[in-house]
Amino acid sequence: MTHYLLSVHGPAELDEFGNYGSKEEMEEAFAATGAFNDKLRADGYWVFAGGLESAATATVVDGQGEAPVVTDGPYLETKEVIGGFWVIDAPDLDVALELAAEGSKACRGKVEVRPFGGLG
């Protein structure tokens, strides 16, 4: 089995209803994502998942010098940012891609699939 990071990418600027358009659509996406999470758990793929606060709440720390340097904002200033992720444990890439497609449909976002080199 291999661990994969399924990261959801979407616009950095979010309005009142995320990027879902309306309250109803946002609630539908949340419900679908919840159902997908339940399925991941039931089928044994689930490791961990979470949604992130907006990129504007991020802080960058560089601890390589003598004293850590702290900077406001995300590491990269881009129009599209990671908004949430799943960590799954799957037998191979085909299974991971299939789950990513389901997750993408549920949360209404594009999903990047990337294997872990190691997981503690």
Partner: protein, 403 residues
């Protein structure tokens, strides 16, 4: 059988895909498989010219390469659990030319053509691992420096290992779509051979032959799939005309080819395949293209061509694939059926100004309509856009003949 170096190398090339595929199954590692196959070749080159080719060369290579792979794994101390497991695994699969071992090549073909790999990498990996072409040969075929091609192949292999691209034939539900990816790779390899880019040979017979060889293997493995039969038929009916296609370094268009130079055996085999597809009655893109080529190769002279049949087949293809390229090819057939004026109207609407065949079609139609100044411009644009030396030579002659 003669055991000279050239004979050994030819045999090895024929056996390469089968050998590597069985080693990948056994050791679950493409690098180990390739290295062990290479070492087995070195041993064969030493032994066979002296002691003769063994009665079952494929079995001999499989055993020798398998032993080399185990030696290598033993030598290297820090092996992870996967390799230790492979060492413990006793391979009791008997070597056979058909059956389970054949499926290894099919598995490997689906791995090489996986949609998660970049299209250029799929072609390169297929030629390397199943065709047994060297990295240098593949680099030369696709006009990129050898280091670039080596990097492309290495990256793809790293992704296969790290992301765990599976080594298996997809489930039935996914098979049609994934098979489409494999067929697309084999079609591209063939096309690159048939109309080579760059200033080298205008036709690369090694690439067309390799594409046909791999498609024949795929057909053996999936005899029930009409699109596989269709692609093979299309390749054979095209390959049949290869020798008549270039004369004195110039491309000879279909209508002007010496049909006595066509390969009758390939045409007969291609027509059989097209008939087989018609009987199965599950049409697809490659089957329709094969049928179009069957119409062309059925005509004793160019003027005997049943153009209404060709246009009807392009109409069917348009329903499956409404792309501007299909529309362009259909318009070329319409020019023969309804005249160049009707066809030019169709061509002018297509958004293909970067595609050399669009300029070629316009130039030909404008020439036939006597619109010489416009035809010259179209020929110039076609010459600038084409990368094939024989096609450029042909277009330059046609342009020169305009007064």
């Amino acid at each position: 059988m003669q055991g000279g170096t050239a004979a050994v190398e030819r045999l090895f090339r024929e056996e390469y895909g089968r050998l590597v595929a069985s080693l990948v199954r056994r050791f679950a590692d493409i690098d180990i498989a390739e290295e062990a196959a290479g070492e087995a070749l070195v041993v064969a080159l030493e032994k066979w010219p002296v002691s003769g080719v063994p009665p079952n060369p494929g079995g001999w290579l499989t055993t020798t390469a398998g032993n080399r792979a185990i030696d290598r794994i033993r030598r290297e101390k820090q092996r992870d659990a996967k390799h230790l497991a492979a060492l413990m695994y006793h391979d009791d699969t008997a070597y056979e030319r058909t059956g389970a071992v054949e499926d290894d090549r099919l598995r490997l073909l689906f791995t090489c053509c996986h949609p998660a790999l970049a299209p250029a990498a799929r072609i390169a990996l297929t030629l390397r691992l199943l065709g047994g072409l060297t990295v240098a040969e593949i680099a030369q075929a696709f006009l990129v420096p050898e280091t670039t091609m080596a990097q492309r192949i290495t990256r793809a292999k790293q992704k296969i290992a790290a992301a765990k691209v599976p080594y298996r034939v997809p489930e039935n539900a996914d098979l049609p779509e994934r098979l489409g990816g494999v067929l697309a790779v084999l079609f591209l390899v063939f096309n690159e051979g048939y109309l080579a880019t760059g200033d080298g040979d205008p036709v690369r017979a090694d690439l067309t032959a390799e594409a046909i060889r791999l498609t024949r293997i795929l057909r053996q493995l999936l005899p029930e799939e009409p699109e596989v039969a269709g692609l093979l038929g299309l390749q054979l009916l095209t390959e049949a005309r290869r020798k008549a296609r270039v004369r004195n370094g110039q491309l000879v268009p279909l209508g002007e080819q010496d049909r006595a130079g066509w390969d009758r055996a390939l045409i007969a085999e291609g027509h059989d395949l097209v008939r087989e597809c018609l009987a199965i009655n599950r049409p697809g893109r490659y089957q329709i293209l094969a049928a179009i080529n069957a119409v062309h190769t059925d005509a004793p002279t160019a003027s005997d061509t049943d153009w209404s049949q060709v246009v009807a087949l392009y109409d069917r293809l348009t329903r499956l694939d409404p792309s501007p390229i299909v529309a362009l090819n259909r318009a070329v057939a319409v020019a023969e059926l309804d005249g160049p004026e009707v066809a030019l109207t169709l061509v002018d609407r297509l958004p293909l100004p970067g595609y050399h065949a669009w300029h070629v079609a316009r130039a030909d139609m404008l020439r036939r309509l006597g619109r010489t100044a416009e035809a010259k411009e179209a020929y110039d644009a076609a010459i600038a856009a084409t990368q094939n030396s024989a096609e450029r030579a042909y277009l330059s002659r046609k342009r020169g003949e305009l007064v």
